[in-house]
């Protein structure tokens, strides 16, 4: 706590001192901006003169990218840039989480599903001119899992720990064949390979830039990186040597506009061609504007409030599993009332989720009763959700020994996320609902980085969070968010610290088999157990919505909210 305060102060002071520098910088970039892209425009012209004007597509993002190394990003903003620069061995079909060949032309699974041999596409070049081959694939994987790899030190590789811990190694067979070896069968591995984490990066580019490679990306994708002006924009240009047809867009610019109203206004006046996260309150205004096109579909996500049930474990050897010598211990945010199932159930009964979804999500979401989206394999529709029943809540509180209620602190997210557009408003509604049954809720807000750090360390009593699916596999929800293995203090994904080892058995069994029916059965069982445990108030599955100018054609929403601009063109 103290540490982050001190760093905040230092940061603020540093910011203050940097202000004049920033002003100078800003004014200088303004002058340079029109000049810089010029050489890029000119380069392709002598080869094939284009009578048509340049196709430029400007996208209004809600924030800037953090890094531009696909294996080392976790946030949606960085990922949407990555998805247009890099490609993996396999990729998702348009608008679905089924996979199809990409940089690998075919693959074969053998040895009980623990070895996968990939045949690689020939004649593909990275943006820096290097050939794509088996060495590049091995490089992209090995730097993440091998601590002795010279490039391992340049990243955190967070997603490798979340999703690829079953991978043993990747080996080269010949120049265009590689073999992925798993420690044990993993039913979600193929869909996971279509994630940004396993995108193939150019080894020679990584060598050239070393620790700065994260800001100089070079992949094989439809667009190549041109420039990054921090907190302002990132420019990509069409890759003329793309192995598929050249993209129709000549340039893609991601502009950072944090305020949703400002984003919409920029779209209305034509400064940008598309925006993300429109404010649900503006939907009527958007629909009534014939120049705009609102695209919306159920998102693969969950927004919830988690109650810290008090006991997690410290993952000393960082293997992502709770070993027998890793005992349960109190989390820093241990709070007696929340350790009681009846209190948690009372809180479930006290919150009117339907009203929150109807009025605060303004109908752009559906009420959640399980921790994963309804369209996924293994969703348990038989679970009966807690209804809104304040009297029942008061009764349960009395039975639990808190007839007069208690005081509790709620961590409230400071930023808008795809699964929760306005967290402070939802937090205030929850505060008000719980106030009605005698539970006084105190607000606690910190900056987003600290928020994640504190909740991962279990310092919260109650917190609001959510998840957007990465690969369309139920394991990506059930194990990451609710699995006892993720109840590790310091790197928790299971923010209620649900630690029933029996549930982990079902989750493991679901991953070890490739039989879909069998997997679904296991996940359904765990959802029942989670419902009784009542550690999470599942609030909503939010729709994902993007708004485009009507002239923009060809965009297809993807369930994971990833943004692929390759097929897009401007009329």
């Amino acid at each position: 706590m103290r540490k982050h305060l001190v760093s905040l102060v230092v940061f603020s002071l540093a910011l203050f001192m940097l202000l004049p520098a920033a002003v100078v910088f800003a004014s200088s970039t303004k002058e340079e901006a029109p000049k810089k892209p010029a050489p890029v425009e000119k380069a392709p012209e002598p080869e094939k003169p284009k009578p048509k004007p340049e196709q430029i597509f400007v996208f209004g993002s809600s924030g800037d990218a953090v890094r531009l190394d696909p294996a080392d990003v976790t946030d949606g903003e960085s990922i949407q840039r990555m998805d247009n620069i890099f490609e993996g061995l396999v990729e998702y079909k348009s608008g679905s989480t089924e996979i199809k060949p990409c940089l690998a032309t075919s693959w074969e699974m053998s040895n009980n599903g623990t070895e996968i041999v990939f045949n690689l596409r020939r004649g593909v070049k990275f943006h820096d001119g290097t050939d794509f081959n088996a060495d590049a694939v091995v490089f992209s994987f090995a730097r993440q899992y091998d601590p002795n790899h010279p490039f391992n030190q340049y990243g955190e590789w967070a997603y490798w720990g979340y999703m690829f811990y079953d991978v043993d190694h990747m080996e080269k067979i010949d120049d265009y064949t590689v073999k992925l070896v798993l420690k044990r069968p993993n039913a979600s591995i193929m869909t996971s390979l279509a994630m940004f984490t396993t995108c193939i990066v150019s080894p020679s580019n990584a060598q050239k830039w070393g620790e700065d490679a994260f800001s100089h990306p070079a992949g094989t994708g439809p667009f190549k990186f041109v420039e990054w002006v921090k907190d302002d924009h990132i420019t990509l240009a069409a890759n003329d040597n793309y192995w598929r047809e050249r993209p129709r867009l000549d340039k893609v610019i991601f502009r950072v506009i944090p305020d949703p109203s400002a984003r919409l206004l920029a779209l209305e006046v034509g400064e940008v061609h598309g925006i993300e996260y429109p404010n649900p309150a503006d939907f009527d205004r958007i629909r009534s504007n014939s120049d705009l096109n609102l695209m919306s579909e159920p998102g693969m996500n969950i927004g919830y409030m988690a109650m810290n049930t008090g006991f997690g474990y410290k993952d000393k050897n960082k293997n992502g599993k709770r070993d027998s010598d890793e005992k349960l211990e109190k989390t820093p945010g241990y709070y007696e009332p929340l350790t009681k199932q009846k209190v948690r159930q009372a809180i479930q009964y006290a919150i009117d989720k339907k009203s929150i979804v109807d009025n605060l999500y303004m109908g752009t979401a559906s009420v959640a009763k399980n921790g994963m989206p309804p369209f996924m394999i293994g969703y348990n529709n038989a679970v009966q959700d807690y209804t809104y029943d304040p009297d029942m809540a008061k009764k349960l509180l009395k039975e639990a020994g808190y007839p007069k209620g208690f005081e509790v602190t709620l961590h409230v997210m400071p930023v808008s996320r795809p699964y929760m557009f306005d967290p402070p408003a939802v937090g205030e509604a929850i505060q008000s609902y719980l106030g009605a049954v005698g539970i006084k809720v105190n607000f606690y807000q910190v900056d987003w980085g600290t928020y994640l750090q504190e909740t991962e360390s279990g310092m919260h009593q109650m917190c609001m969070l959510g998840w957007t699916g990465d690969n369309g596999d139920p394991d990506n929800f059930m194990n990451v968010l609710y699995g006892p293995n993720s109840a590790s203090i310091g790197s928790a994904g299971n923010y209620a610290f649900y630690s029933d080892l029996e549930a982990q058995k079902y989750l493991d069994a679901a991953l070890l088999t490739y039989d879909v029916e069998e997997r679904a059965k296991n996940y359904k069982k765990v959802q029942e157990m989670l419902h009784d445990f009542a550690g999470w108030v599942y609030i909503a599955h939010a729709n994902q919505s993007l708004v485009f100018n009507k002239k923009v054609k060809g965009y297809v929403l993807h369930p994971t909210s990833r943004k692929f601009f390759y097929p897009v063109y401007v009329e």
């Binding site: 206004l265 309150a281 009025n359």
Partner: protein
């Protein structure tokens, strides 16, 4: 008017000067209204500012000017279906008390440091005044944000932060008038008859140098309310569900584009009028109390 004595008692004279000053009167009226709102909020406000459980279904409804409005919500509702008018009325209590506490802290600290520096002079004066100079180098709001970052967020902390930020200004004003008072003959007399320094300071120096503090304090109250609202706007001041004007503004401004202008506009107007009123009053007081401005 012949026959009447020219000499008017000083109290009557000040009172007439005040009533002649229209803008000061206007300021005073606003202040009185604010105080009444703050004290009698429980009776004036038509609704509970924080109803539990919330009635989310009536969120962002317009007020009396529209047919879509909800009965009993004259200025409409905010994003959580709460009465904007009631929240503004309760917000008066929050803003006024925050401003008063902040200015109070600044006055107490300012008087201590200012008197020390002015009365003792020399090294004490240099040290305190150089420190004050350093504090002046930071923009007030930025400094307040830094202090809040150190001591934590919340309305009480915000008051302390603003109080600390305003201390140097107070200290300077006190110091200058102490420097002036210190040289007066009656102080010399006191020292000559052997009064203790403490007695001189508390009985004679401070009471005589307090007049500018009152004027300046009134003006400062306005900026304190504004800064408090700014901290609330940034989420560093009052925490939900406290109905604080700045926080109300911050939570509602994104709905202006979608047509619900009232939720942000009225708290904004409340800030505007209270700051305006206090500024007018402060200016008026200065005109009246400053002997050099007598006609």
């Amino acid at each position: 008017m012949p026959g009447k004595p020219l000499a008017i008692s000083s109290r009557n004279y000040l009172f007439r000067r005040f009533t002649d000053n229209r803008s000061a009167l206007f300021g005073l009226c606003i202040l009185v209204m604010l105080v009444l709102c703050a004290v009698f909020a429980d009776f004036i406000a038509p609704n509970d500012p924080n109803p539990t459980p919330p009635d989310l279904a009536i969120k962002l409804k317009p007020g009396f000017w529209s047919e879509e409005g909800v009965e009993g919500m004259p200025l409409g509702t905010d994003a959580l279906g709460r009465c904007v008018l009631s929240r503004i009325i309760y917000g008066t209590r929050v803003s006024l008390s925050a401003g008063l506490v902040a200015v109070g802290i600044a006055m107490i600290l300012g008087i201590c440091f200012g008197t020390l520096a002015g009365f003792f002079g020399g090294a004490v004066d240099s040290v305190i005044m150089r420190f004050v100079d350093i504090m002046f180098a930071f923009p007030a709001l930025l400094l307040a944000i830094v202090i809040v970052a150190v001591i934590g967020q919340g309305l009480d902390k915000a008051m302390v932060a603003i109080g600390i930020v305003y201390t140097p200004q107070m200290a300077r004003i006190i110091r200058s008038s102490v420097l002036y008072i210190k040289e007066m003959e009656y102080i010399e007399v006191q020292q000559a008859i052997g009064s203790s320094r403490l007695r001189v300071i508390f009985r004679h120096v401070i009471p005589n140098s307090i007049a500018p503090v009152i004027v300046y304090g009134t003006l400062m109250l306005a900026t304190a309310i504004l800064d408090c609202a700014a901290l609330g706007f940034l989420g560093l001041g009052a925490q939900p569900p406290t109905p604080e004007w700045g926080a109300m503004l911050a939570k509602s401004y994104s709905y202006i584009v979608s047509g619900a202008w009232w939720a942000a506009t009225f708290p904004g107007l409340a800030i505007l009028f209270s700051v305006l009123g206090l500024n007018l009053l402060g200016d008026g007081l200065r005109d009246i109390l400053d002997p050099r401005l007598k006609q």
